[in-house]
Symmetry: C2
Subunit: 301 residues, 2 copies
């Protein structure tokens, strides 16, 4: 790794993300009944690494974009709203029936299933609306805003995250082959993470080959992230994770089950390296993205 | 009414809508597990009046827009995808727990709760994506497409339809005052219907006062639609409606309960007239919209 201070970078960027998410959640206070607004806020401002908006903003800067942080994160935080929706819904009784998330009771445990379901769904159009409106405030031309809205909608939908949730449900109780598992995560985790990078590149009006490099980084980093998650689930304690390691309980296939701990670790590392290699080939010099790829596979939670 | 042949108009427009919805549903076949894709198709191509996309296309033409019907309805049908999502989710056991919709078993009864829930959610980003992409194919400039995407996201979200669902849940078992009931329906039915008209006007690059007139028409027509629904629920048989009249069962407030049958009928008629008056004041000459306002309050199902 270079001398890039990732810890400091993450801390300052996370502060910006939390502020932007707070502004987004405040929209619910104005229009939703209070319990549903509170459910939305619970799902949105409940901590987390905030990797997706940080990757988006970092890609934007790596592609030469420049903007005040608050404006940039109002835009980039849209991606986290989709992620927040997926966590709220994944935790629902009809899905994983999870009690804890990031060490705290899940949204439906605190605010009820109805409020959590509705607030979760409301986050999807909120995200698309905000990427268009915040893109305008960021000074993006209409063509660029519209393209970003399309990318986010695609990543959120059947060809992306929701499709991945579908494959995930279908895979419960069955043993998936390695390619099927990768296909699942390419949708469930990969699509939105890739969109984060690509939206950052598009917003900075990157050249096509640079945009493509960032998409490649996103695809590999997304897979690395998921494999590292499986390793953490298999090795960390519930306290370290802030949730119960649940995938094995639910009889879901994991990379660790398929490749063993060492095999999974090596795979994660290889994907992180492939992410960085995609940048190198396009001549993108981005120490922050290099450090983030490393972080994705070395993090402890 | 003028000599406008609404029956023939509805028939030909509905054919175009069904074709466009079939093309939209086909996207799910490519990417979702088969049961979830089938659930999406079930919710999308299950008949209905298709008022929202027809109002959108009709507004487009009333504002001087001109386009091949297939392209226009690929664009306008996006609005029906949001409506289809709301019907699938309203029928779920956790919401109204409905068995029948348009005379057929509801989506979750046929395809299961999980598939119906996921397919329903997937319709939201599909709708935003399609309004942006089909808007491009329709020849709309990026500024216009982006504005249409924003309007659709806003109407679908917490400030619109999902917010209305939230108020609806909250209102169960409580008696709402007339203003509260109107507030609920202004969100739950009105927001998307208004967006249908406004998106049609924006796509046709209508002058601000014309756009505003179509928004006014939409708001009044949306309320007229809901009041007429309450009247139908109170008077029609389940066979005529194709569903059980369920709102009274669920102890929800209705316009009929608040104003009596005759009072509700008069209210619906007044709203339909206000819709047409909004067009008249702006000098918009649109026999089809006048006929549609009448249809909204005189329909039998």
């Amino acid at each position: 790794m270079s001398g890039f201070d990732l810890e400091e970078y993450l801390r300052s960027e996370q502060t910006e993300v939390e502020a932007a998410l707070g502004r987004a959640a405040a929209e619910f206070d104005e229009v939703l009944p209070s319990n549903q607004a509170a459910a939305g806020r619970h799902g949105v401002v409940s901590g987390g690494k905030r990797l997706r908006p940080i990757l988006c903003a970092t890609a934007f800067r790596a592609c030469g974009g420049s903007a005040p942080s608050a404006l940039l994160y109002d835009f980039a935080a849209s991606i986290e709203l989709i992620h927040a929706y997926s966590l709220i819904h994944d935790d629902l009784p009809s899905m994983d029936d999870a009690e804890l998330r990031r060490g705290e009771p899940t949204t439906h445990r605190v605010h009820g299933v109805e409020a959590a379901t509705l607030a979760g769904v409301a986050l999807i159009p909120l995200a698309t609306r905000r990427v268009l409106v915040a893109g305008d405030a960021l000074g993006l031309d209409a063509e660029t805003r519209s393209e970003c809205g399309r990318l986010l909608s695609e990543a959120a939908g059947a060809a992306g995250m929701v499709g991945g949730q579908g494959l995930d449900l279908l895979g419960e109780g069955r043993e998936l082959a390695s390619e099927q598992l990768t296909e699942l995560h390419r949708h469930k985790t990969g699509a939105l993470l890739t969109a984060a990078l690509e939206i950052g590149a598009v917003a900075a009006r990157a050249e096509p080959h640079v945009r493509s490099a960032l998409r490649g980084y996103g695809a590999h980093a997304g897979l690395a992230f998921q494999i590292a998650d499986d390793v953490l689930d298999a090795t960390a304690t519930a306290e370290q994770l802030g949730k119960r390691p649940s995938d094995a309980d639910l009889d879901k296939s994991t990379y660790v089950a398929l490749h063993g701990l060492d095999g999974a670790r090596a795979l994660a590392r290889a994907e992180a390296e492939a992410a960085v290699a995609a940048l190198d080939r396009a001549g993108v010099d981005a120490p922050a993205l290099v450090a983030l790829a490393d972080f994705i596979v070395t993090r402890r939670s």
